[in-house]
């Protein structure tokens, strides 16, 4: 996938911008607070409809303006596609609209048309940070890849919220209603579990090879394990549904007593191991960072292999966080990318890259 045109209107510090990115590596260079990350955020918004920096999307709209608009053309497998995502501030909150080729569509239809893999400094906490960070990485990738996954995830989330309200006693407790929510959670959750399991297995295989290519076997093999809250031996729909049902039954009393949903893929995790030991507990900072880099290269490769075309890679100020060797290793890992955007305050040493200087939301090709 190649973004060939990006057009911004009232997006953060960009009043108006027309940008024709190059294929391959695009380096966005400039001092702090000039709009490098804002540009990257806009591309991510165009692809996923979500910001990787904030959950409050009103922040994306230039202050004092009613609407932010991001539009772009992209070369995808099926041909040229025209996307647009607008965020409007209203009295009752922000409202987002999505369009594909000029036609308004629902988010579920929009998502996945232009796939992106983002790598931001916060991801360096992936190994030791909270599980939600790791689940969100998996969800973001899979939701872009499959509309069915997104639908299951959205439905699962809604039923989960309802079930916890029921457990907390917001309404009178009702066994049939609890059973209804559990039934829906099992149905949608099973789909999530199976998709995550297959995805993590693919990530594991790639990350292991990438990692070995970088550091050899000195520290042992890197492993990514899907730590499911509903573990099964054989990954079939029936087996997962049965295990899910059984766990819900055994945890039933605890769930009611504590008023919390204890069973299901919302409690899944992704575990990093190096040489058989938990990386979060035993790994050095350096080892953890290398593992995250390997994971990100693996995520990109997996989405590319399974989706049949390369997603767009967005790297927000990550390189500056890495030492020279790791920078080089990572850039080598993504050397063959169809298109990538990298923000940096310094220089990126890739001869084939198109470099742009950003000063006060103005873009200038620097060769």
């Amino acid at each position: 996938m190649i973004l060939t045109r990006l057009s911004l209107s009232n997006v953060r510090n960009y009043a108006a911008l027309e940008f024709a990115p190059a294929p391959g590596l695009n380096v966005l260079a400039g001092a702090n607070a000039q709009g490098k990350s804002n540009l990257l955020e806009a591309i991510a918004l165009l692809g996923t409809g979500k910001s990787f920096r904030t959950a409050r999307e009103s922040e994306v709209v230039t202050s004092g303006m009613p609407t932010a608009a991001i539009a772009g053309d992209a070369q995808v497998g099926a041909g040229m596609i025209r996307l647009s995502c607008t965020i409007a501030l209203g009295a009752t909150g922000t409202r987002k609209r999505y369009a594909v080729n000029g036609r308004n569509v629902r988010y579920a239809t929009y998502l996945g048309k232009l796939r992106v893999v983002t790598f931001v400094p916060a991801h360096l906490q992936l190994v030791a940070g909270p599980p939600s960070l790791r689940r969100s990485l998996i969800n973001t990738a899979l939701a872009q890849e499959s509309a069915g996954y997104y639908a299951a995830l959205a439905a699962y989330g809604k039923h989960l919220v309802q079930k916890s309200a029921l457990l907390r006693g917001v309404v009178e407790s009702d066994d049939a209603l609890l059973a209804t929510y559990n039934e829906r959670l099992i149905e949608t959750g099973t789909r999530l579990i199976l998709a995550r399991r297959a995805f993590v297995a693919a990530l594991d295989e790639r990350a292991r090879a990438v990692h070995q290519g970088w550091v050899g076997d000195a520290d042992g093999t890197l492993e990514l394990l899907y730590a499911s809250n509903v573990p099964v031996e054989v990954p079939t729909e029936d087996a997962v549904a049965a295990a899910f049902t059984a766990r819900l039954r055994t945890q039933r009393d605890s769930e009611s007593q504590r008023g919390v949903c204890l069973v299901g893929p919302h409690r899944d995790d992704l575990e990093f191991r190096l040489g058989g030991r938990a990386l979060a507990a035993f790994g050095s900072q350096g080892q953890q960072r290398t593992a995250v880099l390997a994971l990100k290269v693996a995520e990109y490769g997996t989405l590319e292999a399974r989706g049949g075309e390369a997603p767009i890679l967005l790297l927000d100020d990550v390189l500056s966080e890495l030492d020279r060797d790791r920078q080089r290793a990572f850039l080598h890992g993504v050397a063959s990318v169809e298109q990538a955007f990298i923000t940096t305050t310094g220089d990126v040493d890739v001869p084939s890259a198109a470099t742009y200087r950003i000063v006060a939301a103005q873009l200038e090709a620097a060769g």
């Binding site: 239809t109 309802q162 309404v171």
Partner: protein
């Protein structure tokens, strides 16, 4: 008022200013009549002036079918199809514990009592195809199942005159799941 923004409101005011007084009075009376005369049918909880409502008392309607809807306005949508001639039951909303709406806040008990006394052969749950509508339908089918009455749900699918190309993947997948043999 829903769907009436400041611009529409201003337009309505200027329109009314230009109309004769009698017309304004008629409108005011009609609005009052809505408040005074329209109430809930004690049987199906639809809106009516007579209790029980015309839909419940019409002997030409099929008493073996009962269609469960969330709101009274859904009845109007279904009646416009002229394809359904059974009875209705209005729940008064959809189950949503996070909003404080459980079965006790809706007319679920009344539905179960009606099914026991009226003995329809089929209950059609016509709730919206969203998470709350789905959960409400499944919950009702759980409650009704022991009575032996068959419970059905509206089909999911493609809009008539639509284009496969433009259908969203989830609707299309549901339509595939619910495919039927051509006779």
């Amino acid at each position: 008022m829903p769907t009436v923004g400041p611009k529409t409101a201003a337009r309505l005011v200027f329109y009314l200013l230009n109309r004769p007084r009698a017309e304004a009075e008629a409108l005011a009376e009609a609005i009052l009549a809505v408040k005074d005369r329209v109430r809930l049918c004690s049987r199906c909880f639809s809106l009516t002036e007579e209790d029980p409502c015309a839909l419940c008392t019409d002997v030409r309607r099929d008493a073996t079918l009962m269609c469960v809807v969330a709101e009274a306005k859904d009845i109007f949508a279904l009646e416009r199809t002229s394809a359904y001639h059974g009875r209705y039951h209005v729940l008064g909303g959809l189950i949503s514990p996070m909003d404080g709406i459980g079965p006790a806040q809706l007319r679920v008990k009344e539905l179960i009592e009606r099914i026991a006394s009226e003995r329809p052969s089929e209950v059609i749950v016509a709730t919206n195809p969203n998470a709350e509508g789905e959960a409400t339908a499944l919950y009702l089918s759980r409650l009704i199942a022991p009575s032996g009455v068959s419970v059905t749900r509206l089909a999911y699918g493609l809009p008539i005159g639509g284009d496969l190309d433009y259908a969203d993947e989830i609707t299309l997948a549901k339509a595939l799941e619910g495919r039927r043999t051509l006779q």
